[in-house]
């Protein structure tokens, strides 16, 4: 039928597009994320991100409980970085209350937050490498993450949802042996980062899979509201710890690593370097930590004055902010969370278009999303 061929849309040889559902049970979507991919062969023409499979209404639940009880909900947002979530929420409430935190508690918080950053990045590196096929790195990362979880278990008794950082300070003082154990970990850990780098950073296959994949320019990244390592990978030097210092971060000397191009490789390198910087911060904090109280004088029932507050921190995945409106009662009137994963996911469509199916996985990995935080 020569006529039909002539009348077709294009004179060129054309293939039929297919729509593939990736997720919500796909092994590499890092949780219950659903991607509706329009594929031409293996090239991604379009991608629709469908979320909401894990929605628990945390923000609404927070209005039903008092300020102290809400800390446990924050544990369950980004469940691989619970300490950071605790810290962000607690800082917001403290800003609303206007309480002064004891020195020792501030140091313990920084130690926890930075160890949590390392643990979170380790989980990211492991899963990201596994997505690209390097399974061994995954198990190596979990080996080191285990040490950090052991430390947190010493602190709080829990391994995933710590509920450790409380309004006014922290739940308990550092137990005996914590400092020694932490120092031992910090001494050995940089060698392990070198080990990951040996397997990946100069590996031709890793370079082929990550360089120029999912490129996003600095301007686009800012427009889309990216934050954290994903933003810094694009060369934007913006870190909440430096930009709007909270807790006692201004006392530590650390660098903010940035990338140049904004591709998957840059984000990978930035996160690796961040782990090194975190090791440095924790080491400094451990050597400077003073004795003293770990809890400020906070009333048993917290009733902040009427008003509203927004406080954000540099969580492992980006800027994590809590916006709280108080009506003067013992329960928040309104809580709004600005989760980094949810906002970062916005850029996914832009990153993925024109790439191949295999790159979709690499790009999900590089964004470091946690669906608990996306859906809340």
């Amino acid at each position: 039928m020569p006529e039909k061929i002539k009348n077709s849309e294009s004179e060129d040889f054309k293939t039929e597009e297919i729509i593939v559902n990736m997720g919500p049970q796909h092994p590499s979507t890092h949780g219950v994320l659903r991607l509706i991919l329009t594929l031409d062969g293996e090239v991604v023409k379009d991608c629709e991100v469908v979320i909401g499979y894990l929605h628990r209404g945390v923000e609404k639940l927070c209005e039903q409980r008092d300020y102290r009880q809400n800390i446990v909900y924050t544990d369950r947002l980004d469940y691989v970085a619970s300490m950071s979530n605790n810290l962000a929420y607690v800082l917001a409430v403290e800003k609303l209350l206007g309480v002064e935190i004891p020195e020792r508690a501030e140091y313990i918080r920084v130690i926890c937050a930075e160890l949590q950053r390392i643990a979170s990045h380790l989980l990211w590196l492991g899963t990201h490498a596994m997505d690209i096929g390097a399974v061994t790195v995954f198990l190596y990362c979990f080996r080191e993450r285990e040490d950090i979880l052991d430390l947190f278990e010493m602190l709080s008794g829990a391994r995933l949802t710590y509920n450790y950082i409380h309004i006014g300070g922290v739940a308990a003082d550092l137990p005996d042996g914590f400092v020694e154990k932490a120092k031992k970990f910090l001494d050995t850990f940089p060698a392990h980062i070198d080990e990951y780098e040996q397997l990946l950073s100069k590996n031709r296959m890793w370079l082929d899979r990550t360089v120029d994949i999912g490129v996003i320019s600095g301007e686009d990244a800012i427009d889309l509201g990216l934050s954290g390592p994903s933003l810094r990978g694009s060369g934007v030097k913006w870190d909440v710890r430096k930009a709007e210092p909270y807790s006692i971060y201004d006392r530590f000397d650390f660098k903010v690593p940035i990338g140049s191009k904004g591709d998957t490789y840059d984000r990978y390198i930035v996160r690796l370097e961040e782990m090194r910087q975190s090791v440095k911060i924790v080491k400094d904090a451990l050597s400077q930590i003073p004795d003293g109280e770990i809890m400020a004088k906070v009333p048993r029932i917290i009733k902040p004055p009427e008003g509203e507050v927004y406080r954000s921190i540099e969580a492992p995945k980006g800027e994590l902010g809590f916006y709280i409106v108080s009506d003067g009662s013992d329960k928040p009137y309104r809580v709004k969370i600005r989760p980094p994963s949810f906002v970062n996911l916005e850029s996914f469509k832009k990153m993925v278009q024109g790439h191949l199916v295999a790159d979709v996985i690499a790009i999900i990995g590089t964004l470091d999303i946690v669906l608990g935080e996306v859906d809340r």
Partner: protein, 388 residues
Amino acid sequence: MIYSFLRDIVVALIKIVVVMGVCALAVAYTAYLERKVCAWIQSRLGPMRVGYHGILQPIADGLKLFIKEDIIPSKADKILFYLCPVICLVPAFTVLAVIPWSPSFYITDINIGLLFIFAVSSLGVFGLVMAGWASNSKYPLIGGLRSAAQMVSYEVSIGLSVIGVLIFAESLSMVEIIEKQAESGIWFILVQPLGFFLYIVCALAETNRLPFDLPEAETELVAGYQTEYSAMKFAFFYLAEYLNMIVVSAIGATLFLGGWGSPLAFLHIEIPGSGMMKAFLEGLIPAVWFCLKVLFILFLFIWIRWTFPRYRYDQLMQIGWKILLPLSLINIGFAGIEYFFYEKLAWYIFYPIVWGGTALIIIISFKFIKSFENFCVSKRRSDYETAT
């Protein structure tokens, strides 16, 4: 007359049963080896529960797969769906017929042995493509198509990579290739190092192993062509895959590593004793050497799998057509020149020339092939260091 004919048939049948049985068991224990080596690389234990150090784990796995529920997608093409695992398995077993295990133990030796192996083993891909189609699901379909494309691109290179060996062996018969190596006292890896490298890379792609396991790619395509398969049908795919691995290792050992020949042959150790015992040992010891060489290549495959990330589909094709194919063509020309000098030069002049020539080919190829230009040095890494 009839008596000797019957005897031949019985002997052949016994050989077939022994080879098939041993290989089926070997497949199970290759999977065990894979898990143990992987665990060792990843600093963990691997299977430890069933038997001493999990030694009975493969058998337990087999039993488990037998009694699992067999699920077929409701809109699958049922006949093809059932047929595919068998289509994969049959070529894998057929190829075993010409693998020479020891001088006195091989099912058959045909004068086109290697050609037969390549011809038959590439039929296995029909099973994968049809499995992808018959599942009536999109992930398996993509996996099946990938595997077809992969097979086409690497079958050419793998065929060309062994031509160098054939020039030296002057035969396609597997037994003769080994005998030639035993006679001259050199393994062909010494004269064909590049050929061996190309063969190993292509073999990885042929057997769908990481870094080329794209038809499966469990992180992208869930499990590719075998996504919808369960229970025994899945086990058949598994069996075929590992059997193929053993087969390509055996071919590699035959072509490049001297087959059943002992690496200690230069010592001229005579097997002591006489009669049946001596004959038995003379059959057994070469088989042990052969198996050790196969194990070595298998270990190489496993080691590579747990070290490297996975290539992307288009990169895989690029490597196949733009790098491996030209290199294997160059290698054929090189082998011709080599053969010309082989008889004429003394070994202490010949080998430096061969290895130097190989190094030169690799260096020049890296310069010419654009995608290889910064193979060893990461340019991006240094960019980053200056940026911060």
